[in-house]
């Protein structure tokens, strides 16, 4: 069983994409043997007022509520964002959020970000933060090409130790050791398999050797990226048994407070 914690629907401004509607995402998941996915709206990143896009996302995935779990995109630099968070959580039953500061002109190392992470954490919501959405080496002239790094997550976890954070699309490098320090190693932080390498990357092997699948989740970055790449890494992942099941779906279900038995 597989739970993809890193999927999107909607239009990406810089290129055309396939499988970016809810029904097409379902077909894509079936093609790849993926049971469930947490999805967020690409439009919600770029619209000044992203809340209508969050609401459209909830509407789009509602017919598939046993398999697609919407994540709200929250922009803490926009007025009354707290209302959006409350509405998405309480009225739309969203289980987590995406933070995408790269395209919204704010920083994770800021009081504003800490306030947003604190608010999400008080609600028990998972916080997903992509390192990047697209390779900055091909950035469109209006794409800032910014990235989120490990030290941003270190900063947030030290400010809000109870936060549940998934850093997505990041390559595992020795910089991940900043998250393995004694005060952070048992916190609820995760990285995914979407864009890192496993066996030909000593940093990943060393990371897995130290903590196994404890801080790893399955994510594909669909439909931006080929889901097949994440599946190959999962197939060859040097963890087994319960730990592999954690990576495949159990971490995701727990982080989102989803009872998978109810989805069957």
């Amino acid at each position: 069983m597989l739970f993809d914690l890193n999927a999107w629907i909607g239009s990406w401004p810089f290129r055309s994409m396939w499988d970016n509607t809810a029904p097409a995402m379902l077909e894509r998941m079936d093609r790849h043997g993926i049971n469930w996915a947490a999805v967020s709206s690409l439009e919600a990143i770029f619209h000044r007022n992203g809340q209508p896009a969050n609401e459209k996302l909830a509407e789009d995935v509602a017919p598939y509520s046993r398999r697609l779990f919407p994540l709200a995109t929250i922009n803490p630099s926009y007025v009354k964002w707290e209302d959006d968070l409350k509405y998405c959580h309480e009225k739309l039953n969203m289980k987590g959020v995406r933070l995408v500061p790269q395209y919204q002109g704010w920083e994770l190392k800021s009081a504003m970000a800490v306030k947003a992470v604190q608010a999400c954490t008080e609600r028990g919501l998972l916080i997903c933060i992509p390192h990047r959405l697209e390779d900055p080496r091909q950035a469109h002239p209006i794409d800032p090409g910014r990235t989120v790094e490990y030290d941003d997550v270190v900063y947030l976890l030290r400010a809000v130790p109870a936060a549940k954070i998934v850093l997505q699309n990041i390559r595992v490098t020795p910089a991940i050791n900043a998250l393995l320090q004694p005060d952070l190693i048992d916190k609820e932080w995760y990285v995914d398999l979407a864009l890192t390498e496993v066996h030909f990357n000593q940093a990943t092997l060393s990371f897995l050797d130290k903590v196994g699948g404890k801080h790893l989740v399955f994510g594909t970055h669909s439909p931006h990226s080929y889901a097949g790449s994440a599946l190959v890494k999962l197939e060859l992942l040097p963890v087994a048994g319960d730990e592999k099941a954690d990576v495949c779906y159990r971490h995701a279900a727990r982080l989102l407070n989803v009872n998978l038995m109810e989805t069957e």
Partner: protein
């Protein structure tokens, strides 16, 4: 199969020729080549075409270039049924570059690797391309249509339009536009290549795993001109091809048949045709040290 269920296990068992891999010079390079072959085993990669280029456009000395190529030759000798060599040269050293290509071919290398010391269509590069065309060996050119800061850092990186231009001058040369997923606007480069010589190929390597890139390459150039490669993104690139919406036959062409055709122009057979069964996918390779 198109629109069929993705079968990762079966995809891993498909023999694959990686036309774009690297090794380092020296002892560390040999250890790295062992790791490379070990990971290739897991992925069904039966052979790797390796080079040791000077990256970043730096104008290294001929001595340093020879040391790097010696590292490739050492890796070839350590893994004679898994690693083939591509000879790196800086074409501006005209006499030394020609002599180095001849030395490397005599040592068993099967092609040439160029980086971004020169644009591919610079007249300084022509003698190398001409030699490659005469010998029917491929030239793998570091390519990307870079934008912004990255372009400013490496302005002599060739893109699809540069490759199309040189293929017009040398239509018989076997040219490989490296790593469509290696950064840069891959859609720009693939469009630029659509009218290029049929002897011009693209390789699918690179850390950019953007969905649809393999299908676009096939749509623009035809499946017979798309080559499997990793450039160190080994699992990611195997997954790109496994996950692409292409027929089984098209994937076979990309994974191995097109590269086998390139080898055949030199009278060579791919290793997967001569390899004993059970030497890939987790089993120790025949020449593992």
């Amino acid at each position: 199969m198109v629109d069929g269920r993705i079968d990762v296990k079966a995809g891993l068992l498909e023999p694959k020729i990686d036309v774009h891999a690297h090794v380092l010079p020296g002892e560390e390079g040999l250890r790295q080549s062992d790791r490379l072959v070990a990971v290739a085993d897991k992925l069904g990669i039966t052979e790797l075409w390796c080079s040791a280029p000077i990256a970043g456009g730096r104008m290294a000395s001929p001595e340093e270039i020879r040391r790097n190529n010696d590292g490739v030759i050492a890796a070839m000798r350590r893994h004679p049924r898994r690693i083939r060599g591509l000879c790196f040269v800086i074409p501006g050293y005209y006499t030394e570059a020609i002599a180095e290509v001849e030395r490397c071919l005599a040592a068993g290398m099967i092609g040439i690797k160029l980086y971004n010391q020169y644009k591919i269509h610079d007249p300084a590069v022509w003698p190398i391309i001409k030699l490659a065309a005469e010998r029917r060996i491929p030239v793998l050119e570091h390519c990307a249509h870079l934008t912004g800061k990255t372009l400013a850092e490496q302005p002599l990186t060739s893109d699809g339009a540069d490759m199309a231009r040189i293929s017009e001058r040398f239509p018989d040369a076997i040219l490989i536009n490296a790593h469509i997923g290696g950064g840069g606007d891959l859609e720009w480069s693939l469009r630029a290549l659509r009218d290029a010589s049929p002897n011009l190929y693209v390789d699918v390597s690179g850390s950019n795993l953007e969905d649809g890139q393999i299908e676009m390459a096939v749509a623009e150039l035809g499946a017979s001109r798309v080559l499997f490669a990793t450039d160190s993104t080994m699992e990611g690139c195997v997954g790109k091809v496994i996950g692409a919406r292409l027929s089984r036959k098209e994937k076979e062409m990309i994974f191995r048949l097109n590269a086998a055709d390139i080898l055949a122009k030199q009278g060579l057979q791919p290793f997967y045709q001569t390899q004993a069964a059970g030497t890939i996918n987790g089993e120790a390779s025949a020449d593992a040290v």
